[in-house]
Amino acid sequence: MIPAWLLAAALAFGQERDNDDFDIPEPAPDQQAAMIWSNGAYLMSLHQAEKAVDPLWLLRKARLMAKPEARNVTALDETPDSTWFTNRHGLRRLSPEELLAGPGGAAPRPPLTVVEANPRSENVRFVVLDASGRRWYVKLDPPGRPGLATNGELIVSRILHAAGYNVPSFFPLRLERGSFRLAAGATIQGRYKGQRRPMNDGDLEALLLLAARAHDGRFPAAASLALEGKPKGPFRYLGTRPDDPNDTVRHEDRRELRAYQVLCAWVNNADSRQGNTLDLYVEESGRRFLRHYLLDFSASFGSGNDEPKAPEEGHDYYFDPAQVLRSALGLGARVRPWEREAAPDYPELGPFRAEGFEPRSWKPSFANPSFERLTPADGYWGARLATAFSDRDLEAVASVGYFPTPGASERLLEVLKQRRDSIGRYWLGGNAVAPLEAFAVEGSTLAFADLGVERGHAEARSTLYRWGARISARPAFELPPAFSGALELRVSRDLGRSWGRRVLVRVDGGRVVMLRH
């Protein structure tokens, strides 16, 4: 039985698409966007300095001006399907089987013929062809920690796909030495980046020595199918792509990119930089255009890719001059939550915790311009995606991971649920946003749903709704006859002692025609 609010949202959402898939000439690859150092240094230095000379940013920082709202939302404050995002689990709940299937496809068939190896990439990475000739990227785990990096890829890719993002299809593998063959002409990264040399069996053996093995001696691995299309470099979280006429909304003003912060915070994906994105020139329905993907989730949970995460990851940027100055001037008196107690460190999970998790103040390792522009409406939208995952949904997606240590999978689920609930309490159960949805005019009554209550992050008995001077204990208000106009609704979670941010609804001709959180 689909809840009424979901049905209403689906009907209201209708068939809206962003129409950003017009045929375009093939763009050149954006090589500069893939450079890690300059882009990271820019975000850590110049980007921060630019804020200090930006009067608008200063006004927003002083709370004298609000952040601009996302620009790719519909009249009903929804994000339409586009080449960036497709509404899935948040709109129509996927079954556990669909969640587990992710983007879909068939697993690779051994033997795997290695055509390329990149030993200096984080974790051991091979490019292989499977028995049916399909191209795959295979990632292994660091020694002594089977599952540390691959669990992130397998589980988080499924979560993000269900949420609506474009991600590669990942499959779990247990490989033996005999699963690998070396292709004639296989190459391996040379001593320096950009250099390649012929690969031999000794190289393969040396690389496999650096990979984790399961108890049975096999290698846990995550294989992602090479995406169909022509890679055109990463997309930037700032600005637009000048050679893509379909790219009309600045990326830092796209809701799905801003709200990605909420999902990254949830799964602790601290490596959400532009280098882990991809613009792919695809051909669909006779049209050729760019589709935008998110990549590389191996730094999720407690994983720092090839080692456990440092305790400050998720709390601070990799380098934050303001924090350094605060720490220096504070003479060590200020103790950050993550300094006090180390999280339990399972080999396949790393230190992943819910204690000290603050959804709004979570930070990736590198500043992300889209995340910085997250507004309450964006955060609420992201929280809707995160809290759409029930306990059963999480158990389904987590089942694809490899957790040899007793208690590790339970630990992952427990922390994921607690972090999800923290997000729900903050965005849906507090005063940050009025989490009201599914507005409908039924006769003379404006009815709506309270996601905070429906998803268990707020108490119905202590919740009140206000429209002007009218206060209601249930999510509905009587409208004057033939009412047309705007309503500002607010929610209180403490029986009226305090009221949260407003939601703006416009009613016209007996229908809700506009909604703004």
């Binding site: 500069q32 300059s38 001593r191 980046k193 700032l238 637009t240 380098f319 060590g332 300094e339």
Partner: protein, 407 residues
């Protein structure tokens, strides 16, 4: 008018430098906006103009893998077991660049060889050759040191205890000396990593010292040769050798040496003890250090002056010049409060105090020389250390920069 002209200049100047999509858009946006908005945007445009060459340099460095190539420049082989490092010499009154050569796989591929030479200044030089051979829990090393200082500042006045020896003074009675010294020391003992590390050592030394300027009656001016040996004990019960926050560690030595001709000789005792007290949060630590070094005449033979222990910026009294205090004995303490400010970076406040003395009975708190200051330390995951210290003592402010590698 001037502002508009500046804006025009900025927009013209930046045209040819725009290359990334964001930079291109910034230029176009800047040129297309009304005057006020353009005025507000010009600081960003200037910042991005300044950033452009930095970005290109970083991109180039990443494309050609410059760090790896730079690291390889310090190694002689592809396995990176033999190479060189720059060094800073602490000897004499000079400090400067030097060279350290090392080979980690010398001696049947399991011993380390290290050769260091430092040309500290035009007048001073310091060289050291060391071979180390570890076996399980034991290790042996041989150090051959050549030290040459054309100018050593010493403050020559008898110590307050009236021994007629020593240079423990805050007066201005300074003398300059030169020292050329060869020393060979062979150590053997248990490795520190294996627990308490007792060991024995033997030493041989030849030194030539002379006074620059008016002569002074110092024991050991001229040529001295010493043969001797001793015992050493070291222990480390701290929680982290590189960045200790808890526990204690230290070492002590006892040495006997005499010249073959019977003119000079000494008994030497030296010890350093460090304790680390964790505070209210991880990384916040108080460190206390005590140093002691004492030379005594041996069987009526007097110690040569150039072996007198020293208190200076390299020996427990930051902020004081090299060779500032020299006497038969030195005692010093340090208190430091350390706390982390970022990954790999610690800030610390310190108080150093010490006294050089002719007789232990001359030790007195009123004769302590003090210095205090702040420092910043960087310790990378691979053991690279960078130390910046700003100190203030009686002579005035001082600044020290040190760079090295944790061995």
């Amino acid at each position: 008018m001037g502002t508009l002209a500046l804006c025009l200049l900025a927009s013209l100047a930046t045209t040819s430098l725009a290359s990334t999509p964001e930079e291109i858009r910034a230029r176009r946006k800047f040129r297309s906006e009304p005057g006020v908005e353009r005025l507000l945007a010009w600081p960003k445009v200037l910042l991005r103009t300044a950033w452009s060459p930095i970005r290109r340099a970083l991109d180039y460095a990443e494309r050609v893998d410059l760090p790896e190539r730079a690291i390889d420049a310090f190694y002689f082989n592809s396995e990176r077991t033999a190479g060189w490092l720059p060094e800073v010499a602490p000897s004499g009154s000079g400090r400067g660049a030097g060279l350290l050569l090392f080979h980690d796989k010398l001696l049947e591929r399991s011993g380390r060889g290290r050769l260091a030479f430092t040309a500290a200044s035009a007048q001073a030089a310091f060289a050291q050759a060391r071979l180390e051979r570890p076996w399980d829990t034991l290790a042996a090393s041989a150090d051959l040191v050549h030290e040459r200082d054309d100018v050593i500042e010493a403050y020559a006045r008898p110590s307050p205890a009236g021994t007629g020896l020593g240079f423990a003074t805050s007066g201005e009675d300074r003398r300059s000396f030169s020292v050329s010294r060869w020393a060979l020391r062979v150590d053997a003992g248990r490795k520190l990593e294996a627990g308490p590390a007792p060991g024995l050592f033997a030493l041989a030394e030849s030194a030539r010292t002379s006074s620059v300027g008016p002569p002074a009656g110092l024991p050991g001016l001229g040529e001295t040769r010493l043969l001797g040996g001793g015992a050493r004990l070291a222990a480390d019960r701290s929680n982290d050798r590189a960045r200790p926050t808890r526990g204690a560690r230290g070492w002590a030595e006892a040495e006997l040496a005499a010249s073959p001709g019977g003119r000079f000789g000494h008994a030497r005792q030296a010890a350093v003890a460090e304790g680390f007290l964790p505070l209210w949060a991880p990384g916040r630590t108080v460190m206390a250090r005590l140093r002691w070094e004492r030379l005594s005449p041996l069987a009526g033979l007097e110690p040569p002056w150039h072996r007198y222990p020293v208190l200076d910026l390299q020996h427990g009294l930051r902020g004081y010049p090299l060779g500032r205090f020299r006497d038969l004995g030195t005692a010093a303490f340090t208190l430091e409060y350390r706390y982390p400010i970022w990954r790999f970076w610690d800030l610390f406040a310190f108080l150093d105090g010490g006294q050089a003395f002719g007789r232990a009975s001359a030790l007195a708190s009123r004769r302590l020389s003090l210095s205090r200051g702040l420092g910043l330390r960087f310790l990378s995951e691979k053991g690279l250390i960078l130390l910046l210290e700003a100190s203030y003592g009686v002579p005035g402010p001082g600044f020290q920069l040190a760079f090295g590698r944790l061995l």
